[in-house]
C-alpha cells in the first residue's frame, strides 16, 4: 500500500499542473492581500480576508476538484489502468492509494495557504491587526481562522468524495474536470435558493447544499437560525455524505470493466 501511495505521489510530483496550481494559488492570495490593503472598502477588511486565507478556502476546492478528477480519469484516458490493475495489488488498494494521495495533497494545500497567509499578514498588515484581536464577540482572529480551515476542509472532502465518484464514470480527464468545476459553482448558486425552500420543508435541512455552510456556522454563533442544524449535526452529516460517496465509488471502481 505504501508503495502504491508513493507511486501516486511520484506521478503527482511530475505533473506540471501540480506546480502551476500551487503558484497560481499563491499569486491569487497575494493579489487579494494587496487589494484589501489598498481598497479595504470594496475588497473586504484584511481581518476577514486573513481568516479566509485570502480566499484560499475558495480557490483550493477548484484545484482539488481538478486533481481528484484527473487522478482517476487519467488512468482510463491514457490506458494505464490495465498497467495498474494487472499487478499483484487489488483494485481496492489502487483506489484507496489514490484517495490517500489526494488527502495528503489537500493537507498540503491548506498548509501552504495558511503559511502564505501568515507571510502576507506579516508583510502587509503587520500594524493593521494582531492575531489575538477579537474577530467577533466570541472568537479571536486566529481562533476563527482555525475553525474556518477545519470547516472548509470537511466540506471540501464532502465535495471531493462526490467528484471521485463522478470521475469513475468519465473516460476523459477534461470532461471530468469541467463537470466537477461547473458543478461546484452550480452548488453555490442553488444554495441561495435552498435556504428559502428549507423554511417550507424542514427535512430539507439535511441536504448536502446546506452542509456547505459548515465553515460559516463554526464562526458565526447565530448561523444555526439559518441552517436549522446544530454544529454537531452538521459535522455528522458532512462526514456521513463523504463516507457514502466514497463507498459508492469503491463499489463502482471495483465493478468497472477495463
Amino acid at each position: 500500500m505504501i508503495t502504491l501511495v508513493k507511486q501516486e505521489c511520484f506521478k503527482l510530483l511530475h505533473k506540471s499542473s501540480t506546480y502551476i496550481s500551487s503558484a497560481t494559488l499563491l499569486l491569487l492570495m497575494t493579489a487579494l492581500g494587496f487589494l484589501s490593503k489598498y481598497y479595504p472598502g470594496s475588497w473586504g477588511k484584511p481581518e476577514i480576508q486573513f481568516v479566509q486565507l485570502f480566499a484560499g478556502i475558495y480557490w483550493i476546492p477548484l484545484f482539488m476538484i481538478a486533481a481528484c478528477s484527473s487522478i482517476i480519469a487519467m488512468e482510463f484516458q491514457y490506458g494505464t489502468i490495465k498497467e495498474l490493475l494487472y499487478r499483484k495489488y487489488y483494485r481496492g488498494q489502487i483506489l484507496i492509494s489514490k484517495w490517500i494521495t489526494m488527502f495528503l495533497y489537500s493537507v498540503y494545500f491548506f498548509s501552504v495557504s495558511l503559511a502564505w497567509s501568515l507571510v502576507i499578514k506579516a508583510v502587509l498588515f503587520n500594524d493593521t491587526f494582531k492575531l489575538s484581536d477579537q474577530y467577533n464577540n466570541q472568537l479571536t482572529i486566529i481562533h476563527a481562522n482555525i475553525l474556518i480551515i477545519i470547516g472548509s476542509f470537511l466540506v471540501l472532502w464532502m465535495i471531493l468524495s462526490l467528484v471521485l465518484l463522478l470521475a469513475n464514470v468519465f473516460r476523459s480527464t477534461a470532461t471530468a474536470i469541467s463537470i466537477g468545476i461547473v458543478g461546484y459553482f452550480g452548488l453555490y448558486i442553488i444554495e441561495g435558493m435552498m435556504i428559502k425552500i428549507m423554511n417550507r420543508w424542514e427535512w430539507l435541512k439535511w441536504n448536502p447544499l446546506n452542509i456547505l455552510n459548515l465553515p460559516l456556522q463554526l464562526t458565526e454563533p447565530n448561523a444555526d437560525k439559518v441552517t436549522l442544524l446544530s454544529t454537531p449535526e452538521m459535522v455528522g452529516a458532512c462526514l456521513g455524505y463523504t463516507i457514502i460517496s466514497l463507498v459508492l465509488s469503491y463499489i463502482v471502481f471495483k465493478r468497472r470493466s477495463v
Binding site: E75, K82, Y86, R91
Partner: protein
C-alpha cells in the same frame, strides 16, 4: 518432465448477450513461446485480459504458476509482465520514469538500463513520453512488460508500429529471455514474424480454440511443392505421373517434393519430351497459408 506455467480450463466469458469466449482450454509449458492467432475479434485480447485477472469470468479456471487467477486473487501476478492492446503511458513522465515507477524493489537500475539498451531506446529514454512516436511508445510498453524479469510475459500485438530493425531487436530479446526460461504468450497478425519465434501455436476463432499444435509438427505436416509452368501442362502432368512422380491435385503442374526427386531430373525429362519450361517455383506452405486453410475449413464446419 515438463511443467506448465499457465493453465486455462473451460474458460467462458460474455459481454452482455454476446458470448466472446466459449469453453477455452489450453496449457502453456514453462520456457515456451506460444503464438495466439486468430481473426479480428476472435477473443485474443480477451483471453489475455482474463489471464491478467482484469475481469470476472462466470465459468472456468485460470492457473498461473499453480495459483488461481481472478480479480480477487492476484498473488501470482507478481511474476507476470504484460502489454495489452496498446501501451498505457503517462505523457508527463519520461520513459525512464515509467520504468522506474513500475520496477520492483528487486529490479536494479542496471537491469532497467540493460533493457533500454537492448531495445535501442537510449536516445530518447529521458524525454517526456508525449514527444514519443508510435513505435517509441510501443517499445516502452514492451520494456515495461519485461523490466521486472517476469516468468510469464504476455504480449498483445507487440510488433505493432515497429520498424524492421526494432522487429529484429525484439525477436532477439524475446528469444534470449526464452532461453533463460521466460515463458511468452504472444498474439500477432504478422505471421511471418511470429513464425520465426514461436514453439507452439494456438488458433482461436469466434471465441473457440480451433487448433493447438507445436510448430515442429505443423511444419513437418505441410506439403512442399515444385510448381512448373510449361508450354503444354496437360502433357507435362501426364509424363511426370507416368514416371512415378506424385502430383498435387491443386491444379497446374505441381510435384510434391519428398526429398528424393531431383528438379534437374524432372527438367531433363520434360525437355526430352519436347516440352518448354517457362518457370519453376518452390512452393512452401508458410504459416499464413496453413492458417488461412485452417480458418477456411473451420468456417465450412461452422456453417454446416
Amino acid at each position: 518432465m515438463t511443467t506448465s506455467i499457465l493453465d486455462i480450463e473451460h474458460l467462458s466469458k460474455s459481454f452482455g448477450h454476446k458470448q466472446v469466449l466459449k469453453d477455452v482450454s489450453f496449457g502453456v509449458q514453462a520456457g515456451h513461446i506460444i503464438g495466439l492467432v486468430g481473426p479480428n475479434g476472435a477473443g485474443k485480447s480477451t483471453i489475455m485480459k482474463a489471464i491478467l485477472g482484469l475481469f470476472n469470468y462466470p465459468e472456468g479456471k485460470i492457473m498461473v504458476d499453480g495459483e488461481v487467477v481472478s480479480p480477487t486473487s492476484h498473488q501470482s501476478m507478481d511474476e507476470v509482465g504484460a502489454l495489452i492492446e496498446y501501451p498505457g503511458i503517462y505523457p508527463f513522465l519520461t520513459g525512464y520514469q515509467h520504468l522506474h515507477l513500475f520496477s520492483k524493489k528487486t529490479t536494479s537500475d542496471t537491469q532497467v538500463m540493460d533493457i533500454v539498451r537492448k531495445l535501442r531506446m537510449d536516445a530518447y529514454i529521458n524525454r517526456k513520453a508525449k514527444t514519443y512516436s508510435l513505435g517509441m511508445k510501443q517499445k516502452l510498453g514492451i520494456a515495461l512488460a519485461l523490466v521486472n524479469n517476469p516468468r510469464l510475459v504476455i504480449l498483445d500485438e507487440p510488433m505493432n508500429g515497429l520498424d524492421p530493425q526494432s522487429n529484429k531487436d525484439l525477436r532477439n530479446l524475446i528469444l534470449s529471455y526464452a532461453r533463460s526460461g521466460t515463458t511468452f504468450l504472444i498474439s500477432s497478425h504478422i505471421l511471418s514474424e511470429l513464425e520465426k519465434l514461436i514453439d507452439d501455436i494456438v488458433v482461436i476463432d469466434q471465441g473457440q480454440i480451433v487448433y493447438t499444435q507445436s510448430m515442429v509438427t505443423l511444419e513437418s505436416g505441410s506439403k512442399k511443392l515444385l510448381a512448373f509452368k510449361t508450354s503444354d501442362d496437360v502433357k507435362a502432368s501426364h509424363i511426370l505421373a507416368q514416371h512415378g512422380y506424385q502430383l498435387d491435385k491443386s491444379g497446374g503442374v505441381s510435384v510434391i517434393e519428398n526429398g528424393q526427386n531431383q528438379m534437374a531430373d524432372m527438367i531433363n525429362l520434360l525437355t526430352g519430351n519436347g516440352i518448354n519450361i517457362e518457370d519453376v517455383q518452390h512452393v512452401h506452405n508458410d504459416l499464413e497459408t496453413i492458417l488461412l486453410n485452417l480458418l477456411k475449413d473451420d468456417q465450412v464446419k461452422g456453417s454446416k
